[in-house]
Symmetry: C2
Subunit: 332 residues, 2 copies
């Protein structure tokens, strides 16, 4: 049993999101709090822009909850950059205790799961969980400097420039009906993929492992969820994920959507769709949260995956270990 | 109030530690489970050696607790390497849910605090919290390749080659008398230090902030603790820390010890003493845990600090934000 249950059903009171112009040209455009006109956000470097987006998403989630910084007991955040500098430097802007986490693109689900447990257990009343990513800082850290003009292989994804977070609170302090009800912490799964451009294939087995365990632990069927939302498997990874769970007798054809698959209008450059910690952070906290609020969705399993590689591990010939954390979010 | 209290007092059942030959020449030598004869641990790269040490410490903690991998509900770990690859790749060795955290050298305390809350809240019965570091992988990631033979300035510290972890369990499943009783999550504190060789000065204000808040939140005086154990402030940082709390009316002359200050026999190379996530992981889980078991210490505040910088943040002119998480560990 690796699923934990939240008896007191902590509430998502509000969210805050910001995304770049390319991201906002798609489905999330009309739901995000702020659309950037360029990807620098007035800063001098991509990394500083990424940090500023994360800081903005945190502030905006607090503001949208009608709260102030003093109300927040804990900030849980992480990101893709070395030593999670976006999260640490964003945390410097707030006089709030900070818990740094690392789960690559699974960070949003990891932060939500921890926030759920800490609030449900009575250790905190109000927690902000947030993450983000930036296409240009990710490219130069994980792959090549953009200036080289490298071509992208067809299995590649496009790292989302954006950030999102949620203000999560004890049921006693909010009348929001959108609650965290359970969470499944994932195991590290490594299927031996070494192609760092093929993250979808690397992460799909981790997603399948966690989603299947979640269903087994909770005694639920896939169709009990209106939506099983993976983070950034992309088009190819998403198909592999559905095949893997199908082999175990679970049919996700009707209710599975991948954030990476829907965030862009798929044109030439993005190939398999979006990726990055910001992908599920933006899609869940804008578009999906809005549908939960309106009652168009009532039960969502957010299953965000992360590829736990670094340039050093790949350079030393290692394959890509992956993880998936899942959180059940429901209208109660 | 940023301190959380553990009513059910989760127990540290056992620990596991491994350290390099240089580390074992000092005070921890006779307490660690395994002393390496060289710093490669039979691996081909420093990073793989670091990962193997962490994996060893986790296995050994489980074994010393008389348990097996199947008994463990969750592994909480992180390290200093980009994308915490030591922790992620070590987690791949275990079929156990994994929670990646990042707090630089404060990781041990962060992992213990989370383990305490998740067990105390009834979400898990048995958790392993562990971390480690390696001198050579840290040098080439944060500073220069060793082959360059750069000289070290006098304010520098020496990253500990070692790893340590603890098997923490619900009081109902263990008769250990060593318990986690409370934890204080730290805020990010930045005093504007930009010298990446002067981590002690950068981290001391974070340590002072968290320790003072812990004492205020718990209503305890410094002398209520037999030992207030900081992680790796080093000799200089330790003096600054004591001065900062002294200014607030707290005298730590008699009961403060810094892991970095005691791990080495101070000879020429280490200057200010040890540092790295492995520093407090090795010193606490071997030497200090042994004294707790023997009743020579009964109440210890483990206050591990982390410097949340990266080479990119420093290269872009940023100062060093720091954090300190504290956990109270007592003979009950």
């Amino acid at each position: 049993m690796q699923t934990i249950f939240f008896k007191n059903k902590p509430r998502i009171v509000a969210t805050g999101t910001v995304a770049g112009p390319k991201e906002c040209a798609g489905v999330v455009g009309k739901y995000v709090d702020k659309t950037l006109t360029d990807d620098m956000f007035g800063e001098s470097t991509y990394e500083k822009a990424e940090c500023k987006m994360l800081s903005y998403a945190i502030s905006r989630a607090i503001e949208n909850a009608g709260a102030t910084e003093e109300d927040v007991d804990l900030l849980i955040s992480g990101d893709l950059l070395n030593q999670i500098i976006s999260a640490s430097f964003a945390a410097r802007d707030f006089d709030v205790p900070f818990l740094g986490v690392y789960g690559a693109c699974s960070t949003l689900a990891e932060a939500f799961a921890l926030a759920g447990a800490l609030i449900d257990g009575g250790y905190a009343k109000r927690i902000v969980g947030a993450t983000g990513s930036h296409f240009s800082s990710a490219e130069r850290q994980y792959r090549y400097p953009l200036e080289l003009g490298n071509t992208r292989p067809p299995q590649a994804q496009w790292t989302v420039t954006g950030a999102g977070g949620a203000f999560i609170a004890d049921m006693g302090v909010s009348n929001s009906q959108i609650a965290l009800t359970s969470a499944t912490f994932g195991r590290v799964v490594d299927f031996g993929i070494t192609d760092v451009n093929n993250m979808g294939a690397a992460m799909a087995p981790a997603a399948a492992d966690t989603v299947l365990r979640h269903l087994r632990d909770t005694g639920r069927r896939a169709e009990d969820y209106d939506l099983i939302l993976t983070g950034d498997l992309g088009a190819l990874g998403s198909r592999i994920f559905k095949d893997l769970v199908w082999e175990k007798g679970v049919d996700l054809q009707k209710n599975h959507v991948d954030c990476g698959e829907i965030i862009y209008k798929v044109i030439e450059d993005e190939f398999q769709g979006g990726s990055g910690a910001g992908c599920s952070a933006v899609v869940f906290n804008s578009y999906v949260y809005d549908k939960l609020k309106k009652g168009e969705l009532n039960r969502v399993l957010l299953a965000a995956t992360g590829a736990l590689l670094s340039t050093v591990s790949s350079g030393q010939g290692e394959s890509i270990p992956c993880i998936c954390h899942a959180v059940s979010i429901e209208n109660v």
